[in-house]
């Protein structure tokens, strides 16, 4: 039963990810008062790509060809770990939050290698920048996550979430810090403004796009889908860790339905915030990113310390 539940959630994740992306685009268009594409546009794109004939550079190696599958499945695995609409997942016991970060690293590793494989300048640029930013972002992220895990004294996400849930409404300064740190990291990791701009292919600003320039067809589809998944993952992470209310604790039908509605609501809200910020903030230079991320790291550290000193002191 639990395992089925986990599988179901995963599928749900995969299914909803494009929708979130579409919703985000929609909000942005409205904010920049342009005419918005339909919410289902991402689905159409993916479908189209999967049926196109992929064109691959001559010197592309086997690694280039398997990379998309690895990236996608790593991201999906990360999704299996995060409780979406119900807690008490067996999967999040078999792989805790550190492993989830590991999955991201796994995907990133192959993405960067794929960027280097063809031997174009863009690919190298993209992977270099991606690895730089992520290596700065990862400690900040872990700091934020550790604050939670230490508060709940577990690295198992579903247990942690239910712990927060059962605690009721406790205002923890540490969580405030952690929340902001996590948001900043999420923006950096999912390649949104101000760190990276998914909408542009302007050479010198590309990061994520630069790596996948050579991809087409189903490969591109997988990568796109994976990045949409990643975006949603971070969203769910933020939503369910810090505002877990509404998530189902039993596998009753209406509890699950309620949980689904709850998470969709939260995600919609988050997307709106993100859209607003992306409209208001301009993209920053690459070498400002380190300040940005070190700020995130600082927040995470503050959260950790405030947890240790204020909350868990004995």
């Amino acid at each position: 039963m639990n395992w089925l539940m986990a599988a179901f959630q995963t599928l749900l994740f995969a299914a909803l990810a494009p929708l979130l992306a579409g919703w985000l685009k929609w909000c942005k268009c409205r904010l920049q008062n342009r005419k918005a594409p339909s919410l289902l546009q991402p689905y159409r794109d993916l479908f189209k790509l999967t049926n196109k004939q992929p064109v691959v550079a001559e010197q592309a190696s086997w690694l280039f060809l398997i990379a998309p599958y690895i990236i996608f499945s790593a991201t999906v695995l990360a999704a299996t770990v995060v409780p979406l609409i119900a807690v008490d997942l067996p999967t999040s016991a078999s792989a805790d939050v550190i492993v989830m970060v590991g999955f991201f690293a796994f995907a990133r590793f192959f993405l960067a290698l794929a960027g280097l494989d063809i031997g174009t300048a863009f690919g190298g640029m993209g992977s270099s920048r991606e690895m730089t930013i992520s290596s700065l972002a990862e400690p900040a992220m872990l700091m934020a996550v550790f604050t939670l895990t230490m508060a709940a004294s577990t690295t198992n996400l579903s247990i942690a979430i239910s712990h927060v849930l059962n605690e009721g409404l406790v205002l923890r300064p540490s969580f405030v810090f952690a929340l902001f740190a996590l948001i900043l990291v999420a923006i950096a990791e999912t390649g949104r403004v101000p760190v990276d701009n998914p909408a542009t292919h302007l050479e010198l600003t590309m990061i994520h796009e630069a790596m996948i320039l050579e991809y087409s067809g189903r490969h591109l589809a997988l990568i796109e889908w994976a990045s949409q998944l990643k975006l949603m993952l971070y969203g769910v992470l933020i939503a369910n860790i810090f505002f877990p209310w509404g998530i189902a604790e039993t596998f009753g039908a209406q509890a699950l339905g309620f949980g689904l509605l709850a998470i969709m609501g939260k995600l919609a809200l988050l997307a709106i915030f993100l859209a607003i910020s992306e409209t208001l903030v301009a993209k920053m230079r690459l070498f400002r990113v380190q300040e940005y991320l070190s700020f995130a790291y600082l927040l995470g550290l503050l959260g950790m310390l405030s947890h240790i000193i204020l909350e868990a002191s004995r």
Partner: protein, 708 residues
């Protein structure tokens, strides 16, 4: 019985060394056999023919190489057997060899700790012995005699094994120095390059200094007890100050061997210049022997550890880990890069060891056990993948005669097997899930996350920071090895050597790395096995084993408790396979979408050239900007001007050198000081006999005055 296995391992490695000496003795052997058969003409002619054919000029050397490495491999297998059997049986066997001083024979003790390191050495040696014959074939006998290489390899390995067996200070030092000196000769093996000689000298010097520190450490212990057997040293009752002094000396001595920052400088000099399979042993295994020394000294001999040692280790380890990986990032010589990344891994190990000490002294033995296990596990992993990577580097060098990353590229198509093995190494070392590097890192994080149980506020805030540093290290390592694999194997080749490169013929040279790669994957999927073995170490050392409280120990990893944290690589693997399988099946089902190859888009500049690719320095440029303070960077760009008024640029030359801070800060001052003092002292040798008479006159007067 177990001890017999251990002895066999030592003796066999020794024997392989002696066997190598026969290399130049072909003629003698020939005469011997002739003589033998003249003596006994009626003996079986078949053997005669056999021996004669084997003593033929062309066959003999090849055959001998094979035998030498076979014996070595046998010793490796015996080491593994000994290690595993002691780890399973959990016994402690002791013995005495009637060598050494008349009143202090060599004491031998073989317990789980030694056994585990035996296991490590055994695996590494077996892999190397598979790899060796093909590799050393490249050396011209005249220029680089195999006799020397084989002899000192044998001595080196037997030295390491003896260190693990030693149970008294004297024997320990002898074995330790045997290890150092033998490896020194191996570092100096290709001594026609001045740089190698310099590296060898530096290496031996540091080894000597470290050894002196260790002797002093033993001496401190010994001055509180009588006798130099470890049993006696265990009895020593030290005041906490003296214990700390002993610890600092041990840290200096063993740390110098392990290559912790800032006394690491010899390591990136020495390891790369040895033959690759030796670098593999030095970097993968010898550093572990140093680790063994530290653990033995602190946990076993001194006995009760103190938490502020843990803090020292934590800080030193953090600095080494970050420094190591950042320096590794900047290297362009593959083997130097790997050596620096050894510094990083040793740093991680020391961090976790520090955590375990902190928990131990604060009365949480089970967490201390967790830390110790994480440290040992990471040691084990590092031995595996660092060996793998060094052997891979050897393969690359063997095929392309290149070690400079910027000269490589595109090898994934020319050396497919090698590239796969190397990829596994890279994934393990950058601690990606499903591989062994990740498991130990995960355990390390779990250890760090238990900080809540501590009372001391400083520790409670220090440890999380260290954990974050660990995270940063891991991420940087991933970046570093993306660079390594990407520049070496991917893209287009940047030099003619790489164009001509092809997969290595010798099967053994692939079998060795393959063995290691397999183990990397296996212990990444079934860490429970290793944990089980390690538990007996912890049990003997701390009297506390790790609770792995989950139904299927081999399937699950739940070091503290199932609620707090758990990880099940097999399930993850299955899930991953399912996900990949489904997507693969789903996307390949449509026959219309068969893949088409085409020129990559070159932005309309006409033709991508290899020179357009990112180089190592370009790849690491952002990080170089961000962490600029860490290195001594001298970067120079000079332009060739041409045309009217020399206005337009013909070519731009970019040179980048990245140096280590500890040269000007630590080493050169010391050398300067010694030279200056020596200069001053030299003045007393004036060459004037009257001055000399004056010396003895004054000395006499002073002595007489002193005496009365």
């Amino acid at each position: 019985m177990i001890l017999v296995l251990a002895y066999c391992a030592v003796l066999l490695s020794f024997a392989s060394g002696l066997l190598a000496l026969l290399m130049n003795q072909r003629a003698t052997l020939l005469e011997l056999s002739q003589y033998w058969f003249k003596k006994f003409p009626n003996s079986n002619g078949h053997y005669l023919r056999l021996i004669d054919s084997n003593l033929k000029e062309n066959r003999f050397s090849h055959l001998l190489r094979l035998t030498v490495f076979a014996v070595l491999g046998l010793s490796g297998i015996f080491a593994v057997l000994a290690g595993v059997s002691v780890l399973i049986s959990k016994e402690i066997v002791t013995d005495q060899i009637s060598l050494g001083l008349p009143w202090l024979p060599w004491h031998v003790r073989f317990d789980c700790l030694s056994g585990f390191f035996f296991l490590i050495i055994g695996i590494a040696v077996s892999a190397v012995s598979l790899y060796g014959p093909g590799y050393v074939h490249a050396y011209a006998e005249k220029q680089h005699p195999f006799a020397v290489l084989g002899l000192f390899t044998g001595l080196f390995i037997s030295g390491m094994l003896l260190v693990l067996l030693a149970d008294d200070a004297f024997f320990f030092m002898i074995a330790w120095e045997l290890m150092s000196v033998a490896s020194y000769f191996l570092v100096a093996f290709q001594h026609e390059h001045a740089a190698n000689r310099r590296a060898a000298f530096l290496y031996l010097l540091m080894a000597e200094v470290g050894a002196l520190a260790i002797i002093l450490g033993f001496g401190v212990l010994a001055s509180f007890t009588d006798g130099f057997t470890f049993d006696a040293l265990r009895e020593a009752k030290l005041s906490s100050t003296w214990a700390s002094i002993a610890f600092v000396l041990a840290l200096l001595g063993f740390g110098m061997k392990a290559g912790i920052v800032p006394v690491h400088v010899w390591l990136p000099e020495a390891h790369p210049v040895a033959p690759s399979h030796i670098s593999a042993l030095m970097s993968g295994v010898m550093l572990k022997v140093a680790l063994y020394g530290l653990i033995r000294f602190c946990y076993d001999l001194i006995g009760e550890v103190q938490w502020h040692w843990g803090v020292v280790l934590l800080v030193v380890g953090t600095v080494s880990a970050l420094g190591g990986i950042l320096y590794a990032m900047m290297q362009t010589n593959l083997k130097r890069l790997l050596a620096y990344s050894s510094v990083e891994n040793i740093g991680i190990i020391f961090m976790v060891l520090g955590l375990s000490m902190i928990f131990m002294d604060n009365g949480h033995p089970h967490l201390a056990a967790l830390g110790l296990l994480a440290a040992l596990f990471h040691g084990f992993n590092h031995a595996l993948f660092k060996n793998l990577l060094f052997l891979g580097a050897g393969l690359i060098h063997h095929q392309t005669h290149e070690l400079n990353i910027d000269m490589m590229g595109g090898l994934i198509r020319r050396m497919p097997q090698t590239s796969k093995l190397f990829l596994i190494g890279c994934m393990s070392i950058s601690s990606l899930p499903l591989f062994n590097g990740f498991v130990s890192e995960w355990l390390a994080f779990q250890t760090a996350l238990q900080v809540d149980v501590l009372d001391n506020g400083v520790l409670r805030s220090l440890i999380p920071v260290a954990a974050a540093a660990l995270a940063l290290t891991a991420a940087l390592a991933a970046a570093c090895f993306v660079k390594v694999f990407g520049l070496i194997f991917l893209g287009q080749s940047r030099s003619r050597n790489c164009d001509k490169a092809h997969e290595v013929k010798d099967k053994g040279m692939l079998a060795g790395p393959a063995l290691l790669a397999g183990l990397c994957f296996f212990s990444g999927i079934f860490p429970g096995v290793i944990i089980y073995l390690l538990n007996s170490v912890a049990g003997q050392l701390l009297g506390q084993t790790l609770p792995n409280d989950s139904a299927l120990g081999w399937l699950w990893l739940a070091p503290v408790s199932a609620e707090q944290a758990s990880y099940s690589p097999p399930l993850v693997l299955i899930a991953a396979l399912i996900a990949a399988g489904i997507s693969f099946w789903y996307l390949r089902r449509n026959p219309a979408t068969v893949m088409r190859r085409a020129e990559p888009w070159d932005c309309g500049f006409g033709g991508l050239t290899p020179r357009m690719q990112y180089t190592s320095s370009a790849f690491t440029m952002p990080l170089r900007r961000i962490f600029a303070k860490v290195w001594i960077i001298d970067e120079q760009i000079d332009k060739d001007m041409q045309g009217a008024m020399n206005q337009d640029v013909a070519a731009i030359h970019y040179q980048l050198q990245v140096h280590d801070h500890s040269w000007p800060r630590l080493y050169e001052p010391v050398a300067q000081a010694v030279n200056n003092i020596a200069k001053q002292v030299g003045r007393i040798q004036t060459g004037n006999i009257r001055v000399y008479l004056g010396y003895s006159f004054v000395t006499l007067i002073i002595m007489l005055w002193v005496i009365s």
